[in-house]
Structures are given as structure tokens and as C-alpha cells.
């Protein structure tokens, strides 16, 4: 449009220091908030094992043996009073004293997309605002600006972003555990010296454009570029490389993408990452549900158990909150295709570590697993509990672009009975 860089208007030199000052002020205010909250913190990090598709509570964490709804699986006693699990979760049963199983989860969202949003954000979807996920809140409020690694990493799935808190607080996505993240390696034919020549040339262009436009977004881009380059060269990038783990450890997690994802999650948390989601997909078992559930549990059980052992052995479990859940439960009725359909009325979620009381079963469903007995635990309550452990004040609000204050969850209250 303009053939000259300077256009028709005269150049105005905007003090870049002013622009930069504003950015710095924003980051440091975040730091102050984090420090104030740190006093109440019980968990430094959270690992969310996301069972995508809506796992059958009856076939996993809330067995109903000998009932018509119970299906073919037996129940086994876990190492905790009154806790039974599916026979296909033997490793977790051994570690029952570490688990808090919430069996009275209940919601109204029976559509995958809506329910996934709900359980990630603590809010039902609403077209007027995109709510931040718990990972997004964690990244926005608790991340350390100087960290080498992104504060929020999602492994094997895109997770949910930070909504109105901005894309920069969304997840850094690792497509597949055991491989390096996309594009962290320099492209073919580019060595360090050539990369540095490119960076210097780019810096000169950016400097010129920042002065010309005076737009803070140019500084924002330079800032995120410097973070990207820091990540490319970060010693902690070895978190993504499993070569340093012993054969025994790798075997304990299981030879699966999910198992490797859990192992990478531990390595990330060890290196200061605040929130890691690891996705195990395939729980939407409308057909052939029992064979599929058995196979899924054969993946979940060793990985989850090894993660608990490994975190504990390294002294990290106390300060690492582990959650395991999907978007809803499945029907007590077994359908004609030998599967179960969506059932948000009653389902289970599991928490461990991070100041959570182990060895307990919280709440219950009726004898067929159809309905919650007594008052239910809502999704906002569960997320408020997790947020609380991370040091995110459930009462704290941030303003949406339209000026509406939004808190971490939709009126959730932490469940004291689950906490130490």
C-alpha cells in the first residue's frame, strides 16, 4: 500500500522504554501475587490424567459386582478401607492408600464437547466468554517468567486454552511423548552460527519496526521469540527425552504413548513445569465396551501407579497434585452393542498427592451406580479443590474483555474432606 516505509506521516519516535516498562510492570505484578499466594500453597504442580471420551465409572473406580448393571468385571479390594476397584486396576488397588476417589461426581453436561469444556474450566460453555482452563489459570497466575520451559504442557491432546487470559497462557502441546516437541530443533542446514546471523538480522528489522509503529505487540512478539529461542537452547529440554530413564522405570510406566506421557510429565514437573495434562483417549465406549475398557485399563493402571511411585520416591508427591478423570460417566444399562452410553448424573474422579488425603472414598452412588446418594460433588467444587491446592484463590477474579469478573470456577467450593 505504501511504497515508502515511512508513509505519508512523519515518524514519531515512541519511547520504547515506556512500552517495555508497561510489560515489565505486568509481569512483576504477577510475581507479587504469586508470592502472596505461595504461603497457602500445598502443591507446586498438577498432573492431570485426562481420560477422554467419558470413562465408565462402574467398570473402573465404582464397581457394582453382581448387579445387573455391573458388567462382567470383578471388584477387588484396594489397600484402603471400603475402597474397591475393577479387577483390571490391580496396581492402583495396591496403592489405594494414596488415592482419594470421589464417587459422587454429578453434572448435567452429557455432550462430549460441552462436558470436556466444563470439566476443564469449571464453567458450562457460554458464547459470551471463553473461560480459562485450570491449566490456563495456573499458567497466567503462577508461572515464573524466567523459567526455561513453558508452565503449561499438554501431552497427546490439545487440552483447553486460557480463554480470555490470552493464547500465551495456553498449553504448549507435545503431540507424542518420547519425541521432541515440534520445531525446537534448528532446521536442516542451519547451524548455530547461521541461526545467530539470522537472529541478528531479524533483531535489526524488529527494532526498526518497533520504532516505526510504536506498537506494543511488536515488543510482545520479540518477547515470545526470546522465550522460544531460550527453549530451543534450554538444558531442561532433556525433560522430553526418555533416554536418561532406566529400563526398569520405563517398563513400569508401560510401553504405551500414555505411559511415556506420564513419565515425561514427571520429568517436566521435576524441572518446574506447573501444569501437565496427559491424555488417554478412547473411553467413549458405546460398542464392545468391556473389551475396550479392559485394554484401556491395562494402559492406565501401570502408568498411573508408576507415576505415584516415582513421584513419591523422588519426594515430589507431597507437592504434586495428580488428578484422573474424564468428562462424564456411562450408563448403568448395558446397551445392545455391549457398550454403555453417556451418563453425567453419576461418575467418579480420582485425586492423589498435593495435600490430598489418601485412602478415602468420598461420596457414593446407589447400588446400580445410577444416581448419587446424598448431595453430589459438582465439577466446580472439584476444580475449586484442585485450584485451592495449587494456591489459586477460588475467590480471585479476572476481568473479561467486556469487563465481567470471572473467578477460577463457577462458584465452586473446595471440598475440605478431601484434604489433609
Amino acid at each position: 500500500m505504501n511504497q515508502s516505509l515511512f508513509g505519508r506521516r512523519q515518524l514519531l519516535r515512541v519511547g520504547r522504554s515506556a512500552v517495555f516498562g508497561a510489560l515489565v510492570a505486568r509481569w512483576s505484578s504477577r510475581g507479587v501475587v504469586a508470592a502472596a499466594e505461595a504461603r497457602a500453597v500445598k502443591a507446586n504442580a498438577c498432573i492431570l490424567l485426562w481420560l477422554n471420551g467419558g470413562p465408565s465409572h462402574i467398570d473402573t473406580f465404582d464397581p457394582k459386582p453382581k448387579r445387573p448393571s455391573g458388567g462382567p468385571f470383578k471388584a477387588i479390594k484396594a489397600r484402603a478401607q471400603g475402597m474397591t476397584l475393577s479387577e483390571h486396576l490391580p496396581h492402583l488397588a495396591e496403592r489405594g492408600e494414596r488415592l482419594a476417589i470421589v464417587r459422587n461426581m454429578s453434572s448435567k453436561e452429557g455432550n462430549h464437547a460441552r462436558a470436556q469444556y466444563y470439566v476443564h474450566t469449571g464453567y458450562a460453555p457460554n458464547p459470551t466468554v471463553v473461560h480459562p482452563s485450570l491449566g490456563g489459570w495456573t499458567c497466567a497466575r503462577l508461572s515464573d517468567e524466567r523459567a526455561e520451559l513453558p508452565a503449561f504442557v499438554s501431552i497427546g491432546g490439545p487440552s483447553f486454552g486460557a480463554g480470555f487470559l490470552g493464547v500465551q497462557n495456553g498449553p504448549f502441546v507435545l503431540a507424542k511423548a518420547g519425541t521432541p516437541p515440534a520445531d525446537v530443533a534448528m532446521p536442516r542446514g542451519v547451524d548455530r552460527a547461521r541461526f545467530e546471523r539470522r537472529q541478528a538480522a531479524l533483531d535489526a528489522m524488529e527494532e526498526q519496526f518497533a520504532q516505526l509503529t510504536g506498537d506494543a505487540k511488536v515488543e510482545g512478539r520479540r518477547h515470545v521469540y526470546s522465550k522460544a529461542v531460550r527453549l530451543m537452547q534450554a538444558p531442561k529440554l532433556d525433560a522430553f527425552d526418555l533416554a536418561g530413564e532406566t529400563e526398569t522405570t520405563r517398563r513400569a510406566y508401560g510401553d504405551t504413548d500414555f505411559g511415556r506421557g506420564c513419565l515425561v510429565a514427571r520429568r517436566l514437573v521435576e524441572r518446574g513445569v506447573k501444569f501437565v495434562e496427559v491424555v488417554l483417549d478412547g473411553w467413549d465406549t458405546h460398542q464392545n465396551g468391556f473389551d475396550r475398557n479392559k485394554a484401556l485399563m491395562a494402559t492406565l493402571d501401570p502408568a498411573f501407579a508408576a507415576l505415584l511411585d516415582d513421584l513419591n520416591a523422588r519426594g515430589l508427591l507431597k507437592a504434586t497434585l495428580v488428578g484422573c478423570m474424564g468428562e462424564f460417566g456411562r450408563t448403568p444399562r448395558i446397551n445392545a452393542a455391549d457398550g454403555r452410553d453417556h451418563w453425567p448424573q453419576a461418575w467418579s474422579a480420582v485425586l492423589a498427592g498435593g495435600g490430598v488425603r489418601g485412602g478415602i472414598v468420598h461420596g457414593a452412588t446407589d447400588e446400580d451406580g445410577a444416581n448419587v446418594v446424598g448431595p453430589p460433588t459438582t465439577v466446580p467444587d472439584l476444580l475449586a479443590t484442585m485450584a485451592n491446592q495449587l494456591g489459586l484463590d477460588p475467590e480471585h477474579t479476572e476481568a473479561t474483555p467486556a469487563g465481567r469478573p470471572i473467578s477460577v470456577t463457577d462458584d465452586g467450593t473446595p471440598i475440605r474432606a478431601l484434604l489433609l
Binding site: L5, F6, G7, R9, L11, L12, L23, N111, A113, T128, V130, G156, P158, G161, F164, G166, Q168, F172, V173, A175, K176, T179, D183, V184, A185, M186, R188, G189, V190, D191, A193, R194, R197, A201, L202, M205, F209, A210, L212, T213, D215, A216, K217, V218, G220, R221, R222, V224, Y225, A228, V229, M232, D241, L242, E245, D257, R260, D281, P401, A402
Partner: protein
Amino acid sequence: MVGELLASPAWADHWTAYWDEQWMGRDTRAPDVDRGAFRAFLHSAFSRNAPWSEVVTLLLTATGRNSDGGSRREAEQNDGRQMPSGDVNGAVNWTLKYQVDPQDMAGAAARTLLGVQLQCAQCHDHKTEKWTRKDFQGFAAAFVRTRLIPLDQGNPMGAIKRVELRDLDRAAPRFAKMADLEPILKASPIALDGVDLSAADGVRAALARWITNPQNQWFSRAFANRMWAHFLGRGFVDPVDDFRSSNPATAPALLEALATDFVRSGYDMKHLVRIIVGSEVYALSAAPLTEEARDRDREVKLWERFRVTPLGPEQLLNAVVAATKLDAIVRSTGRLDLDQVRFRVKQRYGFLFDIDEDSAADDYEGTIAQALALLNGNVVTTGASVLPGSALADVLALPGDGEAARIGALYLRVLSRQPTAEEIARWTKFLAEAQTAPESPPVRSKPARPTADAGPPPPNRSAPQAPDPLRGLGDRAGYMQASARVRAWEDLLWTLLNSSEFVLNH
């Protein structure tokens, strides 16, 4: 130049992608939504420059079959240029998206078509705003009168279920069990200004007539404001979909004039865009005004300079393709159809460059993954290579010894402007120095160490990223060890493609 843009097929491609994103969003998981057929509906409407009022009427009153069935994956890949069979009406897919939450469809319609945030009134009467729960319920009642007739038995994995959408003269029975819809099901359909929407030809037809009525200023203003914001980075009303008394327009007279003219033109979208792009505001450079000019121009304070906004994923990809002739590179390999490649690239990189509502905020940074993709990813790396047919190959083949002319040609191609004398000097020096720099040994950049797990990896069904369609393209296109001069030129183009001037719309 403006005329060319308006006449180009890219017009329909662009607005199809834009409205597909606005209306369908990222979620297409409902088993009977055919995203491809929906895009085909949009593409056909925008190709013939159907009046905006007609597009909206077709959308709101659509009945008929959703899809030809078949693979969901293939439908996802249809960017709208493949038409379904004649008896499919792709427009019904928007209603299908909201088949269990019609209240959200009412909210989305109010927001995207009228610029009104009605959704908040679903739960509470707002103290200061005019919308009440009753308003919401009456409006939403116009969205519950459709029935879905399944055309396929069962639900084979990965296939789109074919259904037929029909009008109904009462609320659909499928909503009866949903407790939170009860007040909506009981309400009689009423428009936002109190007009009764019951009509002999059905409530949906009445709703479309009311929305697209020339007297309905919400409709024309919302669209004029949205288009202004699209081209200038910010609307008269901002956010674009939040018209309310406590969020007044900045230049109401100008918005009014644009809206009135838009109605008078018969809701001609190309006419409106021609007016906006022809405006003096649009022609302003991205440079800030001087103090004196600022005083003189109070009127246009908001648009004193073209606001710098990030390009969306489609725009950015299209910009890289146009700047580098990536399409020609792909064609030269004879390997894949360009549309296929374009689609796969979008699938892989689309989510990466997803920009959020807040992207106009002053502290917008983007993400680390976006920066990495531009720094090291295959789209930029391949695009910036000297390969048969590439833009850089063309530029290097220009006759003459002067590098200045080549720098100028590359600037025009990538940044649409001539370089300044200072820039020519800087790049000339860069090219000379890079050529005398110690020869780097031919390196394969070190891919992070392979992981220890031996054996072929199991198929990863949950991977969020499609395989990279450009991977190794250079090899297939006959990539050779480049000379120091060629490498220096590749560095120059790489720099331009990574620059804020290229990546930000300004």
C-alpha cells in the same frame, strides 16, 4: 487492485473460512454435523456475492438433508470448494450443531447477526442493560421448532450420520426432558423489539424476515461494524458483537452512514468492502501521527494509525504461500495436489496460529509454539529455499549484477514495499559478510536424540497433529547443498518472513 481482490476467487475462500469459524467454531464433534457441506453452502453463497440478508435467511430457515454421509475426515478436509450432491442443504448443519442447546444458538445468532449479547440474560436480568430473561426466552423460543429425522441406522465410527431437518409448528419433543429449557419451551416466540414471530409459514421464516428487515438497524450496523473492524483492526463498537447503551459507538454518525448505505445497496457485501477499503482511514500508514496531525484529526482518533493485528491462521498461511510461491514448489514435485497440501498444512498448523478474541490487546504476544514454527518449521524453511519454482529462485535469476535490485524485488514480493536506502545498505553488507563467513560444514541440524524405545511406535490415534505434509519436500524437489551466496539469500527471506512487519497486519 481493490477491484481485482473483490473479483478473485480468494474472496469466497476468505469469507467462507471467516464465517465457518464464526458460526461453527472449533467444535464439530456432533456425529451429524457435516462441516464440509456447511462450508460448501457458504462458498457457493459468497461466490455469487449473495446479499448478506439472503445468506442469513438461507442459514436461519434451512431445511433438508445435512450431508451425503461418508467419512468425517474427508468432510473436515473440504474447504467448501467441493459441492455435495444437489439435494443436500449444507446450511442445516448450523442448526444441527445446536441440536441439544438451542438456547446457545439463540445467543450465537444474536451475537453474530445483531451484535447483541443476549446470552447473559439467559440467567439473570441485568441491572443496567435492557435485556431481560423474558426477552431471551421469547427470542430463544424461535429456535426450538425443528425436528431431525435420522436417515441412517446405527452410527459407524468416523462416518457422518445423515439426517433431515424439518420445520415444526411447536417445540420439538427432544427438548421436553431438559429442565433448563422449560421456560423457553413455554414462551411464545417474540423478537427483541416485541414483534410477534408466529406466522403461517413458520417461526423460522418470521424470524429471518424480522432479522433481515431493512428497518432492523441492529442487523445492518452489526455487519458494517464487523467489516470495519475486520479491515481496520477495531470496530466503532468494540468488541464487535457487544452493542449496548453502556458501550457506545465511537463515531456513530459514520457507522450509521455505512449501515444505511449497506441497506440501500441491497446488503451487497462487496459494495461495503469497496467503501471501507477505499476510505482514507484505510490508506493511512501504520506510522503514528505527529502531535500536530493528531490535534487536527481528533475525529478519527481511534484510527489515527492502522492498528497492528496478528494475521489469522488462514491469512498467515496464504501470505507465506503468496510470498514464497510455496504452491509452485509443491507443484514442481508433482507429488500432491496443492489443495491437499494446503489443507494438511492448515490442519497441522491451523491451531498453532489460532488467534483469540483478545488478539488486538496491546500486550498480545502469541505463543512459543507459533514462534518455533516460524523460526524452524517446514512452511517457512521450505518457502525460503531456493527450489525449482520458488520466489527466491525467481529473484536470484533476475538479470544483472546488482544485489540492490534483487533486494527490492524480494521486499516488494514479501512486504509489498520498496526497501529504504538504509535497509539496502544493511542487507548488502549482510550478503557480503555471509558469503565470506567461514564455510559451515554441511550440517544436518541435530534432531533431539532419538528416544530409547526400540521398535516401531504404536499407531498414535490421539495425536493432535496431522503428519507434516511438507516434511522432506526439499529432498524431493531436488534440494542441493546450497552455496554460501544462496544460503545468505535464504537467510534474508527467512528474516522477512519472521518479521513483525510481515506477520502482523498493519
